[in-house]
Symmetry: C2
């Protein structure tokens, strides 16, 4: 008799946690991802803002399972699922049969139907997104310096203006780090421009920054951002984005570097398996995270629409995906062992964290709320703790310590494209 075959699609937090939880199950597991690495997305903004190196927050997936003989890793992209024949179709032409399928394919940033904004306002989901943003941010200062030298001063302000669209944790963190870069790290390095003249705009259509936090913490975050030199604009939507600037409400702001941190769109997992989807494309799943009429298919993480007991949706954050991955592993293990299934999935919110620059953060643990430098230290330690592998913990701790002591960012590389000309 062949073993039960479990296919996991996606090596993000949900998929990795599911494979982890399935250890010891009487099953052959195949993990498929189109990237060769698991990525610690919560710190991706630090790669984009020159604090961390790419390899400090990404790990080869194969490496994670070198000692798990029950796990086979495939580097390939899923194109579709045949739910009748129980086959996953890959872009290589290969098909992988499954008895149980876990889809953990995540989300990409979305432009609310304005896909033409993407080239001027890239988002932040992959390592390439991060190095692309890093290149654009660093080149903006280079363009400004050259504009000053050759006397094209009419372009100067637009090169030295950065707009971040969306004031969730990613937007707040990006705005804070760009402001620090401009106001604290770079000033002594340019001979012609004054980088402290840089404008960083954080634009949010909703009424306040960090809407998932309490009003008190949200107000503190706004203050901390403004102290760093960020101009916060809430309650006005962005109506246009081009390579020349952004239009906020009716006002056009010349601005060459725009970061999109406003919306996400789930992967096409719902379509692959014929499940109903919500507006963001997330698959509607049952109380045990399986798909209607397909108890053998589970969907977890950012690509699943799951509701909490209080009626609110489970947020699209790493701890939620990890809890769902663990839960689904338990359900499958119970089934394989002939034990009764665990009760429905319950999301346990462990807290919300966001940092603002180098020494402020806000943390909402429910009853306990923290802000300021103590929150920043807790945020840093929590993130080091959750990094995979001793080596990364040391490396990130060392990078942060170095920056904390020296004030210097080290991963300030412009890669992929060479000169000012290429980028314009």
């Amino acid at each position: 008799m062949t073993k039960h075959r479990i296919v996991v699609v996606g090596g993000g937090f949900g998929g990795i946690q599911a494979v982890h939880g399935l250890k010891g199950a009487a099953a052959d597991i195949t993990l498929i991802d189109r990237r060769n690495h698991h990525l610690f997305q919560p710190l991706l903004y630090q790669v984009a803002t020159t604090v961390l190196a790419t390899s400090e927050i990404a790990w080869p997936i194969r490496r994670l399972y070198r000692d798990r003989d029950d796990v086979t890793t495939l580097l390939d992209e899923v194109l579709d699922v045949d739910t009748e024949a129980r086959l996953v179709k890959l872009s290589s032409g290969h098909t992988v049969p499954y008895d149980t399928l876990i889809l953990a394919t995540g989300a990409r940033h979305a432009y609310f139907g304005r896909d033409e904004w993407e080239s001027a306002a890239p988002g932040l989901k992959t390592l390439e997104d991060a190095t692309t943003l890093r290149r654009r941010i660093l080149l903006a200062f280079e363009h400004a310096e050259m504009a000053e030298i050759i006397g094209e001063t009419e372009d100067l302000d637009s090169h030295l203006t950065f707009a971040i669209i969306g004031a969730g944790p990613t937007g707040v963190e990006m705005a804070g780090m760009i402001a620090e870069l401009a106001h604290k790290v770079l000033p002594k390095e340019f001979r012609h421009i004054d980088t402290t003249r840089t404008r960083v705009l954080l634009i949010e259509a909703g009424p306040r920054v960090l809407p998932a936090f309490t009003e008190d913490l949200s107000a503190y975050a706004r203050q901390a951002l403004e102290k760093l030199g960020v101009e916060v604009r809430t309650g006005v939507p962005v109506t246009a984005i081009t390579g020349e600037g952004v239009t906020v409400g009716e006002t056009f702001i010349p601005c060459r570097t725009v970061v999109w941190a406003a919306g996400v769109q789930a992967s096409p997992a719902a379509r692959w398996v014929g499940a109903a989807a919500d507006r963001a494309g997330r698959a509607v799943v049952g109380p045990d995270l399986s798909v209607e009429n397909h108890p053998e298919i589970f969907i977890v993480g950012d690509t699943a629409a799951v509701t909490q007991k209080n009626g609110k949706p489970v947020p699209g954050i790493a701890p939620a995906a990890k809890q769902q991955g663990s839960y689904v592993a338990k359900v499958i293990k119970a089934r394989l062992a002939g034990r009764p299934a665990p009760g429905p999935f319950r999301y346990l919110h462990q807290g919300s964290l966001a940092t603002i620059g180098k020494s402020a953060a806000v943390i909402d643990f429910g009853r306990i709320k923290l802000k300021g430098s103590l929150a920043w230290w807790i945020w840093g330690l929590a993130h080091i703790y959750f990094l995979i592998g001793t080596r990364s913990r040391f490396a990130v701790a060392w990078s942060w310590l170095w920056i904390f002591l020296s004030g210097q960012h080290s991963a300030r590389l412009i890669t992929q494209k060479e000169t000012l000309k290429d980028e314009s």
Copy 2:
């Protein structure tokens, strides 16, 4: 009166050392590079073979001179030099006037007139070259695994065969590291292929590996390579390279991954200033490294053809470029101070070093010759010493220590392109 204007083109070892040596000169210095970073090229092969991260061996040039108010950094590409008007022409359209010009623009790999080989056999000079090679090497194993799974076993051998063309230090180092990756790091991570079946070919048209070393050390290096599983082929030229394989002499070897480490071509600096050039395009310079009829123009490093007292050419290695940069700075400082010029440039050969894998190296200090693990430790300490900045020294030391203790490479990221499909 305006200050004397010195323009340095190129932020490699020669250019950086010249700027360093010019500290305190009564001059305004402009350093122009098309990259924003200085690169420690001797360790570039370790990025290509997943040992080090990009930011561990590259530093923003601006950062190096943040405290030197006399130095202005420009990110731009030089297109030409007007030696009459004394102007450097940049790709941005900007022109920079000089009183003294130092060209330190280095070399690229060259294909001896077979430029069509470049796409199949990329070389190793920039960070992008290194991440491209890293991607190709890692994807070769992924392609092999997929070929085994879908039963296209006729492709298997060609995916698991790597050819390195040229057995100088870079070729030897690349071959050793790829063999270690295949034989020691990866075996437990693939469920279908046996990565220890990997063939690594080191192909050299000359009679022996590491021709710049003594015959004894060269023989030792060959032995050490063969112990790691590298097949060394000397005395046969490569006659063809395609995406399907390499032809060595008359023999075609199916092979999907080829690394070019065979030849270099100097930058067009000689052409810019109308200097005579040797076959590799290096500018012929006088005893003080200046250009004939242009005492105000100096050329240093890999783009200069300089002869030693013994009639041999100065080798194209980092210490030679650094010595030339320092020397030229002294000549210029003497001129500006009205002191007599120092004597002609004398190259002092400090030694030749090359590593083979994780615990063998050869060192030729002239009278003292070393091989084996002691040489390897000296090699490692020397390279850490020459890295710029405390942070990089710690980071590289930590990465190496980690690999030494755990046997695991951490910078194993496939970036830039996503899936198997993209690459084929």
